[in-house]
Subunit: 701 residues, 2 copies
């Protein structure tokens, strides 16, 4: 299947130079007489560390049984996706993260990588698989102990035991610590009593809850001996073999959603439901038969975050899937824009190809650059995850860094997916609105990615708080002068990017490929400086404004924080953008081929400058860019967009999507065939001498 | 039903001051001890000139038969919407624009106003009604003559004759002049032969084409005597009484779409289909029996644009419907944010209400301000339309202005609807993703508004070209010095806003209500200056860069234009934003009540400053704002957002939506009931003495 990446999808007929009139802009690297990227090498880079697993997953989902069928009813779609989950089991593509004894291959990175590719088939399949093996199963695996693994994990892996992950409640989503469900220990019977005390404490939005789940991993306040030990997770059977709720359990269907309708989301509630003491998933906290509580983590706060952190993989997979879906959207829109023509330029040439319009380039090329940045950042992220979860680098510092990375990258890539898929849909006009061309369906399905597994704004606020904490730690006991020196940024790499990727060596400034931007003062090391300084300055600014908080009453301190909330979130976003830029740059430094290096350096520059342009007012206000250099940013973006235009098809083809992954008729070559047919018709009519003359030509006589 | 606007939807229980701990920010104007807006007066302002018709329409659609049912199949939804169109006829709510003799009331403004409100029931209903009466019927009314009206208009009005508007082709959307369908006159039989010469010329995306249409108004190149007279419109029967295609006609269903699935969009093609000569809708061009062509408009270009301009009402209604849908989204999200609580502030108070978060205010309040601006701009727009189409002000200059207004406002409001509905959906978290809460459905349906009836970017480019033409006309024969004086902006009001709304009198600077922003140098007249100068400068800049084009070869001139395309579109967007701001300001000047004036002035300031903030880099780069004033913009937006926070519920309630229009359970008070129940539970538990103690309190012992 790797042949896919070297097969251009642009038909030969589109590469001709128009006969007569002015030449069009080059549409391909060949026409531009430029070195082109090495498609296979770029495909390897994009697919990253677990490329083989990704290729296996893509090969598997070429089977149409995995594809979404537009227009199915919710009930039909749910049944189809359930059957697809069984197909995953049959194909050995489920639960790769589990130990071999329970049907897995004990490979955390490969598990996520393979799972992410399912988004190409149907995002509902990706997410329902994630609910079963990545949430319900992972809760048993990560929060439970061997007795739980032995009892349930093989059945989870084989789908003999479908389950729901019952964390979120109607009344509490992002604030998991405040959920209302209780699990009260009864020492007399050695049971926990799971109970829903009020309507707001119903578990809600749970995949597998409306229909298919037989059990649930239920998060509840653990109460024993009159003490609340905080949120813990319990294995609770919910339905019998016939699919009927067990005694004391009730629920509702969440009904139609804005997307992901192949998943049976629903609500659950518990009326004094008793489960054996052993059903507490007790890796991080346990209750003895007599009701005494014990935990190896004494701090209730740290215990809570450790338990939640064990489930970070959901956020990771959303970052990857959002990136892959965005790339697919761009593959469709760029391919169409390279075939579709509209409006005569007035220069006597054929109608203009969409991608030759300056505005169209401006719409698609920077987004293409962003998706590349995301892919490279995601692979480093996934490596870090695999290191921690394999045990190789499992330290509490690494775990904390991993969570911060997840909280920084997932918001950016999931929001960007919505933005990119929407721009692609609009760039394809009415054709983009047809379900068959996939853009609207992908966007609808990915909509909820921005608020589930952590609301994006809440996640960014977590990142912001981490940045503030790192900032404060750096200056503990130091004076204002140290703070000022800090702002100069010499130590920033370590402080801010401990959670992230590495700081650039200075040697890169010598690379010939960046020379063309030197004149603009916007080459690689300057991009890095601009992006990194912004994070530092924003954090320092917020920290400075929050400094009085320590001396204020709690309510006033809270009000002060609230005033700075939006800025803190912006600082976190800037941090995430810097991480993406650094990952893109690191990836470039691994390239040996000159043509690839040149083109991807342009693309990285386009990403960096687009981020800088987005925040241009900030750079001007803070004196980081002169008006002259700032004015150059937008002009340079325009030039980079048109410089990259001949490489656009290569850059989307390098993702290696095959027709069975793309499936959109407008990206199939059908548009090129229509253009060719129309042009041939007109040419034949002119040749026949029967063509009507125009009214204008008549009036000139 | 006007009672709706004086009934607050916020339950009384949410207005209490929390017991103990720090006070929360005021949630209502009453709590803030501030003058509140006069809800009824603001409702009158928002509903505008045709408020009575809007209220009638809203009363009608309180009948659940008009409501969208989530989860219906495409086939069921299509049948339901067709039946709703019959209900509109039964209610006398169809085709108000038609003369009384054909079943209308000859009222163009009321027709559009009433029609726009249907978006509250189901956008598919709004658009299918628009296809039938506003496109298919309007083509007959506006492009045909009395014989056509007599023959078909009554049947169109009564829905006895459902029809499609066959303009767009698979190969040509925005570029209507280049469509491929031909209508060749055969003098021997006195017939036109309608023909589709190649696949790209199939008519596509046509509502009523897949199933229900019995006829179509088909746009085709009119050819007679070997001359192509350009695009004209023809009445062509397409199906028999049994719904079967007539001979020579074929088609396809467009299938599932990203939204609006209550409409049967489809494709049509014609194989030498003959229609009588009289079926040419001949208001602007006719063919005599002998084949000779005549038109009262000699310029082919002007004739084409006159015909298209006769159909401007589609764009107008999209502007209005997008505004109403955005307001509904904000009604839902603000109401929820005023009841929902999440996270403890750490100040010992109850959990924080969402709308008390600084970030949440920043997300919702500027968008609320924008929707107000849109509503006021839309009413002035609708008045201009009514003037032209009633004949009262029907001059070619007014028609041109009307088209420019439509091309400026429709893109802004339709894009803003997608942005606002998405932000509202995210602000409601997982609940926002449920179809029952309406936000996802509205967004999906409105998605296509940004590319149909004129692609938004193409429309803005038209506005840009008009601005350039006005600019050039101003300086015809004048020297560079005149151009420089122009840039100072003294004459700009007339030049740029001839198409729009009026320039402010200077007297407004004296209004006490704007005094609070004087200190910041950002009061009303300065906002206006900043917004207006930007339009002028951007147009002047693009004009300056395009000036060499006259001396270039066509291809080079086209390339030069292409380089400036993105900037020209930005200039057009700035023009539209200025028009909205001026309309908002004009509306404020009609207010007599002090409280209303104060609050709406804050809201207008928030709109103006949000626009300026969006383009802050431009203002800094062009020396229009010092870094000091620029820095004040964002801070002032934050202050205005929190200053308006107690008025948020009033400002969304003032739209007058009743429960039958809102329908979203999360905005019904259910969330407040859940909050109250949970709080009562906790309070009772504490009072009982049985509440578990926290682990933390334990460790302190």
């Amino acid at each position: 299947m790797t042949d896919a990446v070297v097969r251009s999808t642009t038909p030969a007929s589109s590469t001709r130079t128009p006969a007569g009139g002015a030449p069009e802009a080059p549409h391909t690297a060949a026409q531009a007489a430029e070195a082109r990227i090495d498609l296979r090498a770029v495909n390897d880079l994009l697919l990253g560390t677990w490329a083989d697993t990704r290729r296996d997953a893509r090969e598997m989902i070429k089977d149409s049984a995995f594809w979404r069928i537009d227009g199915q009813t919710v009930a039909e779609h749910r049944e189809r996706v359930l059957s697809q989950l069984h197909l995953l089991v049959d194909n050995g593509a489920a639960a790769r993260a589990y130990p071999a004894e329970y049907g897995g291959i004990d490979n955390n990175g490969a598990n996520i990588a393979g799972f992410e590719e399912l988004v190409l088939a149907d995002p509902s399949l990706q997410i329902k698989a994630g609910v079963q093996w990545g949430l319900f199963g992972a809760a048993i695996q990560q929060l439970g102990t061997k007795k739980h693994h032995d009892r349930w994990l093989a059945d989870v892996a084989s789908l003999a035991l479908p389950g729901a992950f019952a964390m979120t409640e109607t009344g509490h989503g992002s604030d998991v610590a405040a959920i209302g469900t209780t699990a009260t220990y009864d020492a007399d019977t050695e049971e926990f009593v799971i109970h829903t005390p009020f309507r707001g404490a119903w578990k809600d939005y749970l995949g597998n809850a409306a229909l298919h789940g037989r059990a649930a991993t239920v998060f509840a306040q653990l109460i024993t001996g009159g003490v609340n030990y905080g949120v813990h997770c319990f294995f609770v059977p919910i339905r019998d073999e016939e699919g009927q709720f067990l005694s004391g359990i009730g629920g509702e269907d969440d009904g139609v959603k804005g997307g992901l309708n192949g998943i049976d989301n629903g609500r659950l509630h518990f009326d004094q439901v008793r489960v054996p003491r052993e059903n507490l998933l007790n890796r991080y906290g346990d209750v003895a038969a007599d009701g005494s509580y014990s935990s190896e983590i004494s701090s209730p706060g740290r215990r809570f975050f450790t338990m939640l952190g064990a489930l970070v993989q959901g956020r990771i997979s959303l970052d990857g899937a959002a990136t892959t879906a965005s790339a697919l959207g761009l593959k469709i829109a760029v391919t169409y824009a390279n075939q579709r023509r509209q409006f005569d330029s007035g220069a006597g040439t054929p109608e203009v190809m969409l991608l030759d319009y300056g505005k169209h380039q401006r719409r698609l090329m920077p987004r293409l650059a962003t998706v590349y940045a995301q892919a490279f950042a995601h692979d480093e992220f996934l490596q870090k995850f695999d290191g921690v979860f394999s045990g190789r680098t499992d330290t509490s510092e690494e775990r904390e860094d991993l969570e911060t990375l997840a909280a920084a990258l997932k918001p950016l890539s999931t929001w960007n997916a919505l933005d990119t898929l929407q721009e692609c849909r609009e760039a394809c006009g009415g054709a983009g609105f047809l379900a068959e061309n996939r853009l609207v369906g992908l966007r609808s399905d990915l909509d909820v990615y921005v608020t589930f597994e952590g609301d994006n704004n809440v996640l960014l606020q977590l990142v912001g708080k981490r940045l503030l904490a790192d900032f404060a730690r750096q200056f503990k006991g130091k004076d204002t002068a140290a703070l000022a020196r800090y702002a100069v940024g010499q130590t920033a790499g370590k402080v801010f990017h401990g959670a992230g990727l590495r700081r650039l060596g200075q040697s890169v400034a010598d690379l010939g490929s960046t020379a063309r931007s030197v004149e603009l003062g916007l080459r690689e090391d300057q991009q890095h400086e601009l992006l990194a300084d912004r994070v530092q300055q924003m954090v320092a600014d917020v920290a400075g404004r929050l400094r009085p908080a320590g001396k204020l009453a709690p309510a006033e301190a809270a009000a002060l924080f609230n005033e700075n909330q939006a800025d803190l979130i912006e600082a976190a976003r800037a941090h995430g953008e810097l991480l993406q830029w650094e990952a893109f740059t690191d990836a470039i430094h691994r390239i040996n081929d000159d043509g690839t290096l040149q083109v991807l350096t342009w693309l990285r520059d386009l990403f960096g400058l687009s981020v800088i342009e987005k925040h241009l007012a900030w750079y001007l206000l803070h004196g980081r860019l002169s008006t002259q250099r700032a004015g150059a940013v937008s002009r340079y973006i325009g030039r980079l967009s048109s410089r990259l235009r001949p490489h656009a098809q290569d850059l989307v083809d390098a993702w290696g999507f095959e027709p069975e992954h793309v499936r959109a008729p407008i990206a199939s070559g059908a548009e090129q065939a229509r253009q060719d047919e129309a042009r041939a018709y007109v040419e034949a009519l002119v040749a026949s001498g029967d063509a009507p003359v125009s009214e204008k030509s008549l009036s000139k006589k």
